[in-house]
Symmetry: C2
Subunit: 251 residues, 2 copies
């Protein structure tokens, strides 16, 4: 069993039980744990769904000691990834996709997935290499959001972007030295792909060349740059804002 | 010496040397460390500024083992906080301030300070109690940004907000159940205070009642909520965007 097949912590386990996007095989509680409303809800949902659960002594959790598991660990069937073609076939009108090109910190990957879910995005695309795998840190940083969105892993990111472009998606790449600001692009009435690059080296050249737009987040101080998860959140919510305002104008 | 008087890691130390906002008394390098361009720049800047530096064996760093120090630790004079009245007196026209009401995770506090600096904000106000002190985790998560902005620590947050209001600041509080969206407020041509609440319990009632506006970030999925640092980034950059667009319209 891989570490990404465990879910750690009350919130993440509860979220997975509620959404049923991942199959939980068994839940382990640490013996002598203080019971609160979340633990009770986990137990109730486990009973309702015929999921095994067990109270185990602290020693049993020593293998998880590097994870913040708050006395609760769920063992899952492996994460199901979505196929890109299948996603495109069933995607809603004006689909919103985020592509992570080499974002390596699993906290950032999780945090971006969380924001993408809050913003009603439809998929997150990650390359097989160079990025954080969707491990338990990603799952936990996403606060369970990985169960609410299609996760697509591809061998070639630029291949995936080519396919998306052929299927009528507009590709917006973020780049520190872009001319246009992120809020000068129209994100309404179309399928949108937002590409975020790695904190160190940005988006790869091939993908920058494929992009329909390159945008920057303006820096008002002569200072380093934003954390990639914050940068993603700022652009993701610009699309939300434009779409809400656009709907109001239509109505 | 308090732990907040150390700076850990290449980037944070380099940033502090460049900006000179904090006085570094001494820099320790771990012996046998692989030298890269950042280490070289740190050494050059230390020499230029007559700052002591020393190569020490790994054992000497064992006291810092819970911090990600990348072989470099700087010892500083304590962080200098700004007085609120002094800040107000010298603040620029249309000053932008962020208030953190009980944000406890030091990574989030650091991340918010980093975004605030990128967005050209003028100050971050934290309460003495309930919030993360500006410790080395905050400093590191801010990527050195704590040296670029006025940090104000107050005994009473609501007292500070009252003072700001009397001095012509508009107070915008974020609340999940607010009626208005964050982008429906005008952030231009005025002094602005953005208040972010704790992840668990939001903004305290007293402060919500003091606010001139309450705004929410719309959630497009029935899902938990945003990470507070991402939420702050989204609102902070809405103010940036409005001010850039406003300046273009004026010109």
């Amino acid at each position: 069993m891989q570490i990404e097949d465990y879910i750690f912590g009350k919130n993440a386990v509860l979220e997975t039980l509620r959404t049923k996007k991942r199959t939980i095989n068994k839940i382990l509680f640490q013996k002598g744990l203080h019971t609160d409303s979340k633990i009770e809800e986990i137990i109730n949902l486990a009973k309702q769904n015929n999921i095994l659960f067990q109270f185990a002594p602290k020693e049993k959790f020593s293998q998880f000691k590097e994870y913040s598991y708050q006395g609760v660990v769920a063992m899952c069937a492996p994460i199901k990834y979505k196929d890109l073609y299948e996603f495109i076939e069933h995607a809603p009108k004006n689909a919103k996709v985020i592509v992570l090109d080499g974002v390596e910190d699993p906290h950032n990957v999780g945090s971006i997935i969380r924001t993408a879910v809050c913003a009603g995005f439809d998929a997150v695309i990650l390359p097989k290499r160079r990025s954080a795998v969707v491990n338990s840190t990603v799952a936990k940083s996403s606060a369970g959001a990985i169960n609410h969105i299609d996760l697509i892993i591809v061998n070639s990111l630029s291949g995936a972007i080519e396919i998306l472009k052929k299927n009528n998606y507009w590709v917006i790449a973020t780049e520190a030295k872009a001319k246009d600001n992120y809020f000068e692009v129209d994100y309404t009435n179309s399928n949108i792909v937002i590409v975020m690059g790695s904190e160190k080296s940005g988006i790869s050249k091939t993908i920058l060349n494929q992009a329909d737009y390159r945008v920057k987040i303006p820096m008002l101080m002569n200072f380093d740059s934003l954390n990639v998860a914050n940068a993603a959140g700022i652009i993701i919510y610009e699309t939300v804002k434009q779409n809400i305002q656009n709907q109001k104008n239509v109505v």
